[in-house]
Amino acid sequence: MASVLKIDNLSISFGGLKAVDNLSFEIEDKMIYGLIGPNGAGKTTVFNCITKFYTPNQGSVKFKTIEDKVVELMDYKVHEIVNLGLVRTFQNVELIKDLSIIDNLLIGAHSQYKSTVIAQAFMLKKARNEEKLMREKAMNILKDLGLEDKAEEIAGSQPYGVLKNVELARTLMSDPKLIIIDEPAAGLNETETEALAIMIRKIRDTYHCAILMVEHDMGLVMNTCERICAINFGKKLAEGTPDEIKKNKDVQEAYLGKEDDIA
């Protein structure tokens, strides 16, 4: 499988509402992929199905793991997904506000810790070394993202923009093959959004992972995504390169508005 993620005929409904309806698309390795669509189109729901927060009614989600094995995500539990190399951010930032930023990153590395509770309680050498390694890794990531001087700050005291970046940094702790991010630019102004675009590209280039992104800021989407899938009412509307999508009449009508409105 050349692609890192392959979604086939995914469907889920809530009561009578088909939130995702027979959706299929696939994401190639190291690609920045955009998922767009009107409000309530089912984008977040797709994310929740992939990461097993929701269990879809039907369909399959194939994923190529860190070890290049292709697995069916439907066979895994929520907390196991991250071990496979797939990690997400949330539409409303979900960081632990009372912990420092570096501690938040270390939580991102949770699945990589191997030492036992006993080893940790008695601070055995193994546990100490492991902790040291993880801290180094976290510091490196923060450095890469230009956040190193914030490492010891309490997350809750930081502005929203920083938190968005921290959440991104946290995903990197698990050596992901695919990061999925939900509305990263929400709440950022245009200058900040541009910085974010650079950051996203940099993450892909430095960490060699694919990125799947939901975003309403068309500037960001069109500038960073290599391929885009537009959905409406849970169904695929169009798929293609940014230019193709921009020109697509259906997409314009349902989502973008006339072409000249698009930044």
Binding site: T44, N48, F53, F90, Q91, N92, E94
Partner: protein, 290 residues
């Protein structure tokens, strides 16, 4: 079969009181997120008030009325004097504060009313009515009626009225509720008053079954809490149904299996129910969307 129903009917009387106390508990919980540990002991305190009034020659009906007014005032004081100023304190902290209130009520009662148990009569006298060979006291019917009526009223207020909406909204997010122009302080004031009055009413009805004494409400309070959990905190009928299940089951187990092990068996049963229905019989689990 007569014996079976006699046991059921006997249990209904206590069950109504668990239910009534549970309604007060759930009401306060729903609005403020606080489990009021003092619900029972405040009731006990008010039963002393009623009994003292009676002993001082006040007629029963008036004594009850005055006591309920005093209970309302006490509820007012608790909200206005304590809970209102505890905005920064989370529900758990407030819960411990109500544990402090337990000590205050338990300590003050004997200081004010003496160390002897006191007498308070049934609200409704009269000989048992026989229905199909089962005897029911008129008072039992009264208590059951009061409980179900109050449950109905609360349900109506909460679901159908503007103030009910205010209560639910306050429960969910005080700050936003205020932003929307809802006088949340008034809401929680009224709720604490109502909750305390319900507790007092329950205690006044318990009094004739035992005596007015400091520990009269301990078991009722615990059972009311358990009823609320068994029925789920989500609705007002849940806790009352829970209370009836507990009251009746207690007697059925006691009669047909073993009175010694009745309590243990009952708790074991509740444990099982909860494992199968983690939010109680009528509970709803709200899933936060991510």
């Amino acid at each position: 079969m007569t014996l079976f129903f006699q046991n059921i009917v006997g249990g209904m009387q206590s069950a109504s009181m668990y239910g009534l106390a549970a309604l007060g508990l759930v009401l306060i919980y729903k609005t403020t997120g606080v489990i009021n540990f003092a619900q029972g002991e405040l009731g006990m305190f008010h039963a002393f008030v009623a009994a003292a009034l009676l002993a001082a020659g006040v007629p029963v009906g008036l004594a009850v009325l005055v006591t309920l007014l005093i209970a309302g005032a006490v509820g007012f004081l608790i909200e206005w004097g304590i809970m209102r100023h505890a905005i920064k304190i989370d529900a758990l902290g407030k819960m411990i504060m109500t544990m402090g209130l337990v000590m205050v009520a338990q300590g003050l009662a004997p200081m004010l009313f003496g160390n002897n148990p006191l007498y308070f009569p049934k609200l409704l006298g009269g000989d048992p009515i026989m229905i199909l060979g089962i005897s029911i006291l008129p008072n039992t019917l009264l208590i059951i009626t009061i409980t179900l009526t109050i449950m109905g009223i609360l349900f109506y207020i909460l679901q159908k009225t503007r103030w009910g909406l205010a209560i639910r909204v306050t429960a969910e997010n005080v700050n936003t509720a205020r932003l929307m122009g809802i006088p949340t302080q008034k809401v929680s004031l009224v709720i604490w008053m109502m909750g305390t009055v319900l507790g007092a009413l329950a205690a006044i009805m318990v009094a004739p079954l035992t005596t007015v004494n400091v520990s009269m409400m301990a078991d009722i309070h615990l059972k009311s809490f358990i009823s609320a959990v068994l029925g789920g905190f989500a609705t007002f009928y849940g806790p009352v149904v829970g209370a009836f299940i507990i009251g009746m089951l207690n007697n059925i187990i006691g009669f047909y299996i073993s009175s010694k092990w009745a309590t243990a068996i009952l708790y074991f049963f509740i444990l099982i129910v909860l494992v199968l229905k983690p939010t109680g019989l009528f509970g709803k689990k709200f899933i936060k969307k991510v």
